[in-house]
């Protein structure tokens, strides 16, 4: 076990938390936007909803 294992582990965990958190935030935002859009009535000439 490296004497600096805690630094290595902290670096990888922090990266996972930051990038994983960003990905999760984007996914939740997408879900909320779709939900909000589905509550509004569609209009003529509206683009297809994903």
């Amino acid at each position: 076990m490296s004497a600096h294992a805690a630094f290595i582990l902290a670096a990888y965990l922090l990266t996972l938390a930051v990038i994983g958190g960003a990905a999760l935030a984007i996914l939740l935002d997408y879900r909320n936007l779709r939900r909000a859009l589905s509550k509004l009535p569609p209009r003529d000439g509206d683009e297809p909803r994903p």
């Binding site: 600096h4 670096a11 922090l14 990266t15 990905a23 996914l27 209009r43 683009e47 994903p50």
Partner: protein
């Protein structure tokens, strides 16, 4: 290419590319992590701590790459008035901030055992901190101006002002006497590190770039939906107001 400038076409393309990008980045990152921990040797000076470099260096590259993407998008907004350009720019800023933050903190976690300090105000570290602050400033600017087109133009101007920092970051280790080591991969004369360390680093860099592209596509898709929601909400509010006026006019006639 221009066909995909249309938001509807972009959404259908993104629907195909996002799952593909997610799967591909997952596979490449898994291979990169395997190579990082089970193939790459410990460094003769840094020991096992060198393994922090396999995330620190790709995060540093992506912090610059993301700003490059935002600069192109800013030009798209100001010069060509590309319909997706400011959406792409707005979507990239939080990702750029995230990768720059990872770069700064992992660098600090490497610096403490190797340099004996968490932080020094040397030119490379300070210019990357400035980049992080520019990203935060751009995010704040987007949140300050409500109208997306106006916010897009203001953010595009600030992005183009901030681009002057990119060559400073890249060449700071050559222009000034810094504690941060000079470039060892992207340099004249080829990479200075051994292939057993270079390959894991490149695989991690490719995996993180694929992840960035996938997250960026997802964030652009969100931005398109947010603008559609805003437009439909305004139209629905106008319809409601018109109905109220009609009811009031009917009551007045009676």
């Amino acid at each position: 290419m221009l066909r995909y400038a249309n938001p509807a076409n972009f959404l259908s393309l993104a629907g195909v590319l996002i799952p593909l990008g997610a799967a591909l980045s997952g596979l490449v990152l898994a291979a990169g992590l395997y190579m990082t921990f089970f193939v790459a040797p410990a460094d003769y000076q840094q020991g096992e701590t060198v393994r922090i470099m396999y995330i620190h260096v790709p995060a540093a590259w992506l912090s610059l790459f993301c700003y490059g993407v935002m600069t192109l998008a800013a030009l798209g907004t100001l010069v060509w008035r590309h319909p997706l350009a400011d959406a792409a720019q707005k979507a990239a800023a939080p990702l750029g901030a995230a990768f720059t933050f990872v770069c700064l903190v992992t660098g600090s976690l490497w610096g403490k055992p190797m340099w004996g300090t968490w932080w020094v105000w040397d030119a490379r570290l300070t210019s990357v901190l400035v980049l992080f602050l520019v990203y935060l400033g751009l995010i704040a600017l987007w949140r300050t101006i409500e109208e997306p087109a106006r916010a897009g133009r203001a953010a595009a101007i600030l992005t183009l002002v901030g681009v002057v920092n990119l060559p400073v970051i890249k060449f700071s280790v050559d222009w000034w006497n810094t504690l941060h080591q000079p470039a060892s991969v992207l340099r004249m004369g080829g990479p200075a590190i051994h292939p057993t360390m270079l390959w894991p680093l490149l695989v991690m860099a490719i995996g993180m770039t694929l992840l960035f592209v996938t997250l960026h596509l997802m964030a652009i898709r969100n931005e398109i939906l947010r603008r559609r929601l805003r437009r439909l909400s305004i139209l629905a509010a106008e319809d409601g107001e018109a109905r109220l006026r009609a009811v009031a006019a009917g009551q007045g006639a009676r």
